[in-house]
Amino acid sequence: MTTTTLATPAAPRRRPAALVPVGMLVLVLLPLLLLPLAAVFVFAFRGGLTAFLSALNTQDARFALRFSLLIAFATAIVNAVLGTFAAYVLSKYRFPGERPLGIVVNLPVAIPTVVVGTSLLLLWGPIGLLGRLLEPTGFQPMFTPFGVLLAHLFVTFPYMLGTIKPLLDELETTYEEAAYTIGANRWQTFRHILLPALRGGLFTGALLTFAHSLGEFGATVLVSGNLRLRTQTAPLYIFAQFEAGNLAAANAVAAVLALLSFVIFFFLLRYTGRRTEGRL
């Protein structure tokens, strides 16, 4: 009796009661989330559209945005492959040490990004454990675009894995087994059975990775050397300009980054929304 009343609450009675908590939530969210974002756009366009565009049209700003986009694309592509491989191994094979390995690959979520930057420097930097051995070869990954990519791969590794592994775990094994019985090998099974089923997950995971890479700051600031026109990403540019007191330059790029993440978020929402809709 009680359960039925809980399951089907009377719709007309809920509406007036909701007004207070909803209003409170909006009041809390306004200064917490909405107003700061609005401030970025208000400041960015305070000098008018031409001022906004000319702030974006400096060599440094254009480079920073392009460099961030390139790193984000590269990170998304490499981690799409690595993350899917990791998800496949962890989902389809049973082996000793499976659980510790599963924890290790998810660690980057928990580690502060500054620590990631420090550890990369202490490994690959000129005074680092491996970096010292590399010294004679003249190959020096830190303070180069490659170093930035390494940091981003580390930081964003779990996002692809996190999207693909649940899909693989949930997937019915009957098609796979059928493929094996007609003589398909592991690669053929993966290519023709699993991959088509993972398409949506790949897209979502890659977008998540892309978005996180675009905004990465903590690790990048340490491994990049913050060189303009060489390793300065858009978030580093924003920080450098803000520290130097050039609010207009900082805000213009910040507004573009915010806009890009809105677009990515919109795609994510549309895509995941459509999938659940299709399933229902």
Binding site: R66, L69, L121, G225, N226
Partner: protein
Amino acid sequence: MHLQRHLLARRLQTLLPALVLSLLGFYAVWPWLPLPASAAPPRTIVFYGFSILGEVMNQSVFPAFQQEWQARTGERVEFISSFGGSGTVTNQVIMGVPAELALLSLELDAQRLSDNGVVPAQSWRRLPQGGIVNRTPFVILVRPGNPKGIRDFTDLTRPDVKVIHPDPLTSGGANWAIVAEYGAGMRGQPGNPSAGYDLLLGVWRNVVAQAASARAARTQFDNGFGDALITYEQEALYDQARGKLRAEVVYPHSTVLSEHTLVVVERNIPARDRDLVDAFVAFLWSESAQRLFVQGGFRSVDDKLNAGNPAFGVIADPFRIDDLGGWAKAKREIVDAVWKSKVLKELGR
């Protein structure tokens, strides 16, 4: 008909992300596409500098040299540069960033580079002026109208004054400021051996915020924190010249002239760029570059050029680091022995 429109909408939904992403990708790789029209790649100089140099280098000195070099050789030069706290820059160079030149706020940081084997000891002393490119005195910035009536360092010890100070750990300017405060105290009361310590302690009791660089401290001050900021005169003059200064400059009776040292990091300079880097180093002490520094608010190493900027204020009793026995001694006896070991301990920080 209805179904068709539905299908079209669906297709558009899949196409839109693909279209947006490929447009973004195309925008990103555009400058690196092997287009036939692109000219020979420019030669590069990698330059690291301490925080307040940013504008004057990027907007006047680099372009002036680019023009001169192109006129002389027909080659394009691109400057890859980074500006931050002098200590930060020094640490980055020690960690191995590819800096070919580093213009540091104080000789102490150059010393750290040679201690870490990055450059030979005292190598900067062989440059013109012992490596010093330009100077600027330490002054006090206060709010418009000087509401707290601050006239000298001693006024900063009053209990109602809140001081913004850069952090001596990462900022060269902060080390200069400590020397300025201590030296001003000593010179104010020559008979009192603890006068320097007293003034330093009084000022630091009122420090409410520490930023990583002189520039970052300035940004904090501009954002409304504190009543007074101890900083380079250049910081104030640069904005004053552009009508952007929302503060007043107070010249202390006695203060230090900071001297900024250039270090050439030989190991990062490829043999083929030797001539280019040498030419730029020579250019920094040329009259045209020194004039640009004066216009940008720095005091030239050539005193007769300093008449070129009427905004330079008068300091009754300026002193230099050499008057205190050089940076090695000042660091040991003032920054470490007095500020770190006594003042911070006294304040419980």
